[in-house]
Symmetry: D2
Subunit: 358 residues, 4 copies
Amino acid sequence: MAGNTIGKIYSLRSFGESHGKAIGGVIDGCPAGLRLEEDDIQRELDRRRPGASPLVSPRREPDRVEILSGLFRGVTTGMSVGFIVYNRDARSEAYDALEHLYRPSHADCAWQAKYGIRDHRGGGRSSAREHVARVVAGAIAKQFLRLEGISVHACTARVGHVQIEQDHPTLPCPPGSAIGCPDPLKEAEMVELIREVSRAGDSIGAIVAGVIRGVPPGAGEPVFDRFQARLAHYMMSINAAKGFEYGEGFRAAAMKGSEHNDPLRASSRGVIPVTNHAGGILGGVTSGEEITFRVAFKPVPTIALPQQTVTTSGEDVELTATGRHDPCVVPRVLPVVEAMAAMLTLDMMLESNLYPPT
Amino acid sequence: MAGNTIGKIYSLRSFGESHGKAIGGVIDGCPAGLRLEEDDIQRELDRRRPGASPLVSPRREPDRVEILSGLFRGVTTGMSVGFIVYNRDARSEAYDALEHLYRPSHADCAWQAKYGIRDHRGGGRSSAREHVARVVAGAIAKQFLRLEGISVHACTARVGHVQIEQDHPTLPCPPGSAIGCPDPLKEAEMVELIREVSRAGDSIGAIVAGVIRGVPPGAGEPVFDRFQARLAHYMMSINAAKGFEYGEGFRAAAMKGSEHNDPLRASSRGVIPVTNHAGGILGGVTSGEEITFRVAFKPVPTIALPQQTVTTSGEDVELTATGRHDPCVVPRVLPVVEAMAAMLTLDMMLESNLYPPT
Amino acid sequence: MAGNTIGKIYSLRSFGESHGKAIGGVIDGCPAGLRLEEDDIQRELDRRRPGASPLVSPRREPDRVEILSGLFRGVTTGMSVGFIVYNRDARSEAYDALEHLYRPSHADCAWQAKYGIRDHRGGGRSSAREHVARVVAGAIAKQFLRLEGISVHACTARVGHVQIEQDHPTLPCPPGSAIGCPDPLKEAEMVELIREVSRAGDSIGAIVAGVIRGVPPGAGEPVFDRFQARLAHYMMSINAAKGFEYGEGFRAAAMKGSEHNDPLRASSRGVIPVTNHAGGILGGVTSGEEITFRVAFKPVPTIALPQQTVTTSGEDVELTATGRHDPCVVPRVLPVVEAMAAMLTLDMMLESNLYPPT
Amino acid sequence: MAGNTIGKIYSLRSFGESHGKAIGGVIDGCPAGLRLEEDDIQRELDRRRPGASPLVSPRREPDRVEILSGLFRGVTTGMSVGFIVYNRDARSEAYDALEHLYRPSHADCAWQAKYGIRDHRGGGRSSAREHVARVVAGAIAKQFLRLEGISVHACTARVGHVQIEQDHPTLPCPPGSAIGCPDPLKEAEMVELIREVSRAGDSIGAIVAGVIRGVPPGAGEPVFDRFQARLAHYMMSINAAKGFEYGEGFRAAAMKGSEHNDPLRASSRGVIPVTNHAGGILGGVTSGEEITFRVAFKPVPTIALPQQTVTTSGEDVELTATGRHDPCVVPRVLPVVEAMAAMLTLDMMLESNLYPPT
């Protein structure tokens, strides 16, 4: 109930603070019989690792994952999978100044009210560093899905005012992409914008587009556990997420039924829609088409510009933040979005008896 | 697991098909000691009732709710609350033609693939008629919340291309409003647009804006069960919902941190934000400010215009739908949005030990 | 969380008080495609019905079940199954005297402390009349299990000091058995004992033995959700249950490993144990052998003899109970034990991917 | 769903195999504000540690626990608590001979059937070594309970044919007790019996009696989540448990209502029962009296005597087990029983809004 657990069958429970000893978790519901590739998990972690480019936080964390259980000679046994990633470069002293004040648009004040105690070092558990556990559990989910030909991909669709064409978001990114945008010209603009706001001590919002390919028809449960409802839950649990849509999303509000409906036609692989305005889900259940969705993120709240705030003893002060942070959630949030989509997809396939395939 | 249950403490499990005997449910987790006003429940049902205006389906259902348990002399006892609303005006014969074909952009085809069987009469359980149970459980939740001075309100913010100013959505509606839009001039345009698409045999999408007022700080659980994540889940489980956002939502993607951050200041009622771009939630936990959100809905998929589709035996055909339906989800979806918001708010307050207040 | 729901996949949520309008429930997780035999459900209800013999309560309830949803032309659709059994012969006036005092060894006093309110009429929801909903959900589970050759059987193994031989409990009962005891001579003694205590205004305890046959190997989840742990939960949730054991149960405490261990041998149907001291479960997982268990029940606490008790205003008084009740939980608890065992078995098979068989 | 998680609010998810890298877990739902005493946790682990006496396994594990998260300056923050206990003295080579055969009355064969793969080293996750995680989570629960004056105590009530008087089980043990039996004379007999079966290469069963003191009235949820039903679940999830009873337990089957009912009387602390045959729970809810229960354990299945068994390739063979093991579950299971009782009590108090006290 306390919110550190997600998933019904393939389920992650995580722990760890930004400046604590370690981030880790326990995955329950891992099907038996998969040869787990630890390199693949590490590759996903590396995508999210800080210190990897001038666009992201300079904190230097190796982020090496250690699997502690659930494997026998490299193969999953059906037992719970414990894992741990030790924190190595936590510089808590940089946060000493924050112990006695509340950062605007951070969890600080609300958590203090809720718990009466708060770990101010690097934001404690409210830091996006908890995403590390999600990426590990998502990387394992991806390996299960890959066996069935299912893939998950996220790209940067918008940074500030720079956005790609609506129709591009699910295209592959060119090799060497800095922030995972499928349109190289737009990406250059986005990178420049991120550098600019960073130099100005500011931050900027973004939109991530995702696609899940290869999911068979029938995943999802009618009424309250529709695929899209649980996908929204998973995505909106990511730090800084402010909005979720799938298929045509908010644009559907401006459309007529005759425009938005997807006509059906018979084909050799059964009944298929001519278009996919629906985004791959009907009646809460996957249709077999691509599942498309977008997630909006606010600008990272930690900025270097001076801000008006209040101390824990109730005095108005001006804050000029230090500490290491990203000016934009992209590119580091992309593997997190993918991880959450992968976990949800595997979980709903298990729940709907679609995994393992019979 | 099968998706007909929502909520952890204040929890609804519902049943019923559009043309079955009844819609109903069992609410578990109703706190003891509330004098339940059945009239208030009925009033909410009446807001969603078909046949009430020329803008909505002409199906004539009295939608009388009967509470079957959990009350002693009108007061809740802490026991589960069973309730039932009998279906009275189901005209299944109008759907006979639909038994052997799949309606585009409906659940038909996906559910057939999933279950191998499907109740085609009025869409069975995929019909928005299941919302009746939500409205009942939400109306009861509202009564609990009202005791603590908490209110939930939803209004129509957009129909097709007609939208109110961004800053209005949480204003009260004028008395006699036809579709719950706070701006009378815009409402007139919206109503005209709905009539127009209805005459043309078409339908139109919409956006609903909601606000939850009076929630104390501290509701919501960090990491995976953030208030916004579960609110997104609740909203995206409503029929025809395509998108969810809270606070600045998708607009936050175009904002800088220095614009989006809410400065804090000391006040007689504690630390408060100068602005509320955050939408009332920080670190997954309510801040004590208004919780603002918006939900996008697709155009109702049932239209009278001819559409290309496929029979259950795999032949391409043209469908011209009959049956009774709404041209737009508003106004009937408004009490459903409110019901879901009320249920979630009560549930998270119970989970976070904020209800009953100590 | 409030305790009116049981099961993870095949799950019952029930409602209803002894003297309320109805008993009912909603079953979620019913697999699609089963032709449901309502007569079979009714037959199970009839086994539990009051008024059927001189050994049981004279309350006359027809206990007719009505299925409200989840069926299409008699076949389950995978949707939630709502059902209702109206109360017809509730004579609340007989309980008027009990409004202002607490019955010894009943829920009265504890519930009053917990909720601050209590439905005293027939014990409200603490009455064994809530078992009606269990029997309905169990009868449906039995139909699913029967398709796979799985059966559940419960018999009376002890009433007061009269008990059958340890080795008999899973034998079939002879036709016409009054209280479901497989040994006709012992049954005659038991019946005489029940009559005797009944005449004396007293009541008597009992032990029920159960067996689940035909469960394939592999149902149950290691560590916390072992088959026996969840079976214990299900059984100990029955009114008046005081103890649970499986296999050798408490007798195992007096045995040596060399006596209790079941040697293994190779056979044409795989590895099988020579004996079944284990009771069909190893490492929390079904072994493929018969699952044997026993449940102890206290004497029914409602007795006609005078008892010392206290009024709600705190005065010591003597209570001489009226109202209609059974002198012993058998025979009416037998279908309840079977129902709980059937629900648990189906649920764990669904959870362990053993149902439907592939 | 996969069974490695227990508890609704105060909830443990554990991981780890007997011969893997570590045993550990994540506790969710730890209330904020408790100064956690790591020494107290270690003391509980030491009670369960192997190698501590000639009566238990000679495996030498320091069993040092490391708390990884959820604390700020030694005080719980409300965040999830990760912990780890590294395995140090796993001698897997002793188990090489067991890779290709199934040990009688162990999980081996059932788990192989279920998962198609199995970690044979020390029994993998089916080993009682997983109890380490329970003891850690239970020790933390005990600290929360202690603040409210609630204590949990378990003692040895029976070993083989040697048993204490029925009325003694909840008495304190004398200092220096070898196996936690409150009756020194009986304990001497029990110890001698354990030594004897151990010398003979055999093992012996036992019964543990427990008492939970100081729980206020009102913990527990009616119908399916009665306190006793969930306590039975917790206890029957312990390795080797075969039976559970509370209050009079199985003896209640032989009693009359007039003997078993607990008369009530008015007292300065409210309505109280004159006797406590009920075992502290009525209507599924704690009454405020002592909660008494007993758990039966089978003899440890690993014995040195030759046994008939089968290889993984289906040949009948004789097994003479090696490896290090206990001849009886007591005394090492006592802190496990206490841990499970403490976790359940805290969880149900949280669920019933009795913790923290208002």
